[in-house]
C-alpha cells in the first residue's frame, strides 16, 4: 500500500510535466486543427535555455522559470510567424510536414551544438519530507504545485477572459471570426506563445526532476506528451490533463513491473488501443467530415 502511494506521487510528478506539454499541443490543435510536431522540441529547448541561463548568471529558480517561459514563448511565436502562418490556407498535410520539419531542425541543431547529454545543476536545495512513511521532496511538491498553478491559470484564461473567448471562437469557426473584428492572427500568435511558454516551463521542471538534459528529450518525452494529448482528445484542454495523468500513471506502473525498456512499447500501444475504440480520444468530440 505504501509502495503504491509512493508510486502515485511519482506518477503525479511525471503526469504534471506531461500535462504542461500536452496543453501546448492541445491548444494549438484546438485553434488551428494542426498538430504542432515542433512542440516537443520547444519543450527540450526550454531545458537548454535554463542550462544556458544558469551558465551565464546564477539566478534563483523563480526568475529562471520566468525567463525560460519568456524565451520559449518568443520562439513559439517566431515558428508560428515564419513557418506556419504562410501555410494557413494550404492543405493540412503541408502544415503537418512543416511542423515535423521544424521540430527536426530544432532537434538536430541542438544536437549539433551539444552532442552529449548534460547534467542539470541544482536550482533548489532539495529537502526530503517524511509524511506518514511516504517520502516526498520539495522538488516534487514544487513541480506538482507549479504545474497545477499554471493549469488553473490557463483554465481561467480560456474560460473567463475575452482573449479566451476569442480563442474558443476561432476554434469553433475560423472563417467567421475575423469578420467579427477579432484579430485572429494575433490570437493565434498568442496561443502559440502560451503553449510554448508552458512547454518551456515543463522543460525546466523536467530538467530539475530528472537532472539530465539532452537533445533527444523532444522525442522521448515531448512526443509522449503528444500521446497524452491524443489519448485525452486533442483540442480539449481538460482531456489533455486527464490523458497526461493517465499516461504518467501507466508509465510509472510499467516501470515498476516490467523492465524500463518496455515503457515506449506500452504507452504507444495504449495510444493505438484507445484510438481504435475511441477514435477521438477520451474527451474529444467527433468532428464531422466536410462533405
Amino acid at each position: 500500500m505504501k509502495y503504491l502511494a509512493q508510486q502515485a506521487i511519482n506518477a503525479l510528478q511525471l503526469g504534471s510535466i506531461y500535462a504542461l506539454i500536452a496543453l501546448g499541443y492541445s491548444m494549438v490543435y484546438g485553434v488551428l486543427t494542426m498538430i504542432n510536431f515542433a512542440h516537443g522540441d520547444v519543450f527540450m529547448l526550454g531545458a537548454f535555455f535554463c542550462l544556458l541561463l544558469i551558465a551565464i548568471v546564477p539566478v534563483p529558480f523563480w526568475l529562471a522559470l520566468i525567463v525560460v517561459m519568456g524565451a520559449t514563448a518568443l520562439l513559439g511565436t517566431l515558428i508560428e510567424r515564419f513557418a506556419y502562418r504562410p501555410l494557413r490556407n494550404a492543405p493540412r498535410v503541408s502544415a503537418i510536414i512543416t511542423a515535423l520539419g521544424c521540430g527536426l531542425v530544432i532537434q538536430n541543431t541542438t544536437l549539433g551544438i551539444s552532442p552529449y547529454a548534460r547534467p542539470m545543476p541544482h536550482l533548489l536545495d532539495n529537502t526530503t519530507f517524511q509524511l506518514g512513511g511516504l517520502t516526498i521532496t520539495t522538488l516534487q511538491m514544487i513541480i506538482i504545485g507549479v504545474s497545477v498553478a499554471l493549469m488553473v491559470a490557463l483554465d481561467f484564461l480560456i474560460r473567463k477572459t475575452s482573449f479566451g473567448m476569442a480563442m474558443r471562437a476561432i476554434s469553433s469557426d475560423r472563417a467567421t471570426v475575423p469578420l467579427l473584428g477579432i484579430p485572429a492572427n494575433r490570437v493565434i500568435a498568442v496561443t502559440f506563445a502560451l503553449g510554448a511558454a508552458l512547454g518551456g516551463a515543463a522543460g525546466l521542471l523536467y530538467g530539475m526532476a530528472y537532472p539530465v538534459v539532452s537533445a533527444a528529450m523532444g522525442i522521448s518525452v515531448g512526443w509522449k506528451a503528444f500521446v497524452a494529448a491524443v489519448i485525452g482528445g486533442i483540442g480539449n484542454m481538460r482531456g489533455a490533463v486527464l490523458g497526461a495523468f493517465l499516461l504518467g500513471g501507466v508509465e510509472v506502473m510499467t516501470v515498476a513491473v516490467l523492465p524500463s525498456t518496455y515503457r515506449d512499447l506500452i504507452s504507444y500501444s495504449l495510444l493505438l488501443l484507445i484510438l481504435v475504440f475511441k477514435p477521438h480520444g477520451l474527451l474529444g468530440k467527433p468532428t464531422l467530415q466536410k462533405a
Binding site: 501555410l87 494550404a90 498535410v93 503537418i96 512543416t98 515535423l100 518496455y262 493505438l272
Partner: protein, 323 residues
C-alpha cells in the same frame, strides 16, 4: 503505318532488359568502384521506398509517417532468414526468397494499419502510423533474439546493383500499373473527396487496404535490400528520421508522380552523400529543405505530373492499333 504507340510498346521492355544486363555486368567491368556501386544501390533502394510511400501519401493523399516501421519489419524478417535460420543455403536461392518474405511480413503488418484507416483520416491516421512506427521500434529493442537495441551484425552482403535495379523496376512497374488502372484511379479519387468517391461506387475500403498493403510490401522489400547492403541493422536505423528522409524524397520529387519519386530519391541520396562531411548538421539540412519546399513549392518538382515514357499506353491508342 505504324502508330507511335507501337514503337513505344517495345522500347521500354528492351531498355529495361538492357539495364538489367548492364547492372549485372557493371561490377565486373571495373568501371565503377565499390563506393559508386553503393551509391547506385542506395538510389535504387530509396526509389523503392519513395515510390511506395508516394502511393499512400501522394496518390491516396493520406499522411503516413510509419514507412520506416514497415521497412524495419522487412529488414529484420529477411535478416533472420539469412543469418539465423539458413546461413548455409545458396545465396542465389535464399536471397530472393528472403526479400520476398521480408516484403510479405511488412505487407501483412500493413493490413491492420489499412483497416484502422477505414475509420480515421488525416491527422489521426498520421498519429496511428506514428504509433505503429514507435511500437515496431521499441518492440524490436525488446527482442533479445535479434540483438535488442544493439541490432543484428554480420548480415551477408547479398544486395547487388542488379538485384537493387530489379526490385526497383518491379516496384515502379507494379505501382504504375496500379495507379493507372481503373481501380487505382479510385485511390486518387479518395484523395480528392472520399465521400464523393464512395458515392460514385469506388470501393474505398478495399482500395485503402490495397494501397496500404502494396506500399508496405515494397517498404519491406526495400528494408530487406537495405539490410543486406549495409550488413548491419539496429532498431534506431528505422526511427522517425528515416521516415522523414523518405518524406523529403516524396515531397521534393513530387507527390503522385512516378518520375518525381525517381527524381526525389536520386537527388536526396546524392545530396546526402555530398553532405556527409557535415556530420550531424546534415540532419538539419534535410528537414530544413522539407520546410522550405512546403513553403514555396508544396507539390514538389513534378507534383501530379509524369514523364510520358513512364505512363502506360492509353487505351485509345491500343484500340487504334487493333483497328
Amino acid at each position: 503505318m505504324k502508330s507511335i504507340g507501337e514503337k513505344r510498346r517495345h522500347l521500354p521492355p528492351a531498355l529495361l532488359i538492357v539495364g538489367l544486363v548492364a547492372s549485372a555486368a557493371l561490377p565486373s567491368t571495373g568501371l565503377v568502384n565499390d563506393y559508386l556501386q553503393f551509391v547506385l544501390m542506395s538510389v535504387a533502394i530509396n526509389a523503392i521506398l519513395c515510390v511506395s510511400l508516394n502511393l499512400v501519401n501522394g496518390w491516396m493523399g493520406e499522411f503516413s509517417v510509419g514507412h520506416a516501421g514497415f521497412m524495419a519489419l522487412g529488414a529484420y524478417a529477411s535478416a533472420i532468414l539469412t543469418v539465423k535460420l539458413f546461413p548455409s543455403a545458396p545465396p542465389f536461392l535464399l536471397f530472393p526468397a528472403a526479400v520476398l518474405i521480408g516484403g510479405a511480413v511488412a505487407g501483412l503488418a500493413g493490413i491492420p494499419v489499412g483497416i484502422l484507416s477505414f475509420k480515421t483520416r488525416g491527422d489521426y491516421l498520421a498519429i496511428i502510423t506514428l504509433a505503429f512506427l514507435m511500437i515496431v521500434k521499441s518492440g524490436l529493442e525488446n527482442i533479445p533474439y535479434t540483438g535488442g537495441p544493439r541490432g543484428m551484425l554480420g548480415i551477408p552482403r547479398l544486395t547487388t546493383v542488379a538485384w537493387a535495379y530489379f526490385w526497383c523496376v518491379a516496384a515502379f512497374w507494379v505501382i504504375r500499373n496500379l495507379v493507372y488502372s481503373k481501380y487505382g484511379r479510385g485511390i486518387a479519387a479518395i484523395r480528392e473527396d472520399e465521400i464523393a468517391a464512395e458515392a460514385m461506387g469506388v470501393p474505398t475500403r478495399s482500395a485503402k487496404l490495397v494501397a496500404f498493403v502494396t506500399s508496405s510490401f515494397f517498404a519491406g522489400v526495400a528494408g530487406a535490400l537495405f539490410a543486406h547492403q549495409l550488413q548491419f541493422i539496429n532498431p534506431s536505423s528505422f526511427d522517425i528520421l528515416k521516415s522523414t528522409e523518405i518524406l523529403v524524397m516524396v515531397y521534393l520529387g513530387g507527390v503522385a508522380s512516378l518520375g518525381g519519386s525517381l527524381l526525389g530519391a536520386g537527388v536526396v541520396t546524392i545530396l546526402t552523400q555530398c553532405l556527409q562531411p557535415l556530420g550531424t548538421w546534415r540532419m538539419v539540412v534535410l528537414p530544413a529543405l522539407l520546410v522550405l519546399l512546403m513553403l514555396f513549392r508544396p507539390g514538389g518538382i513534378m507534383g501530379y505530373r509524369d514523364w510520358n515514357w513512364l505512363k502506360p499506353l492509353l487505351k485509345k491508342s491500343r484500340e487504334e492499333k487493333a483497328r
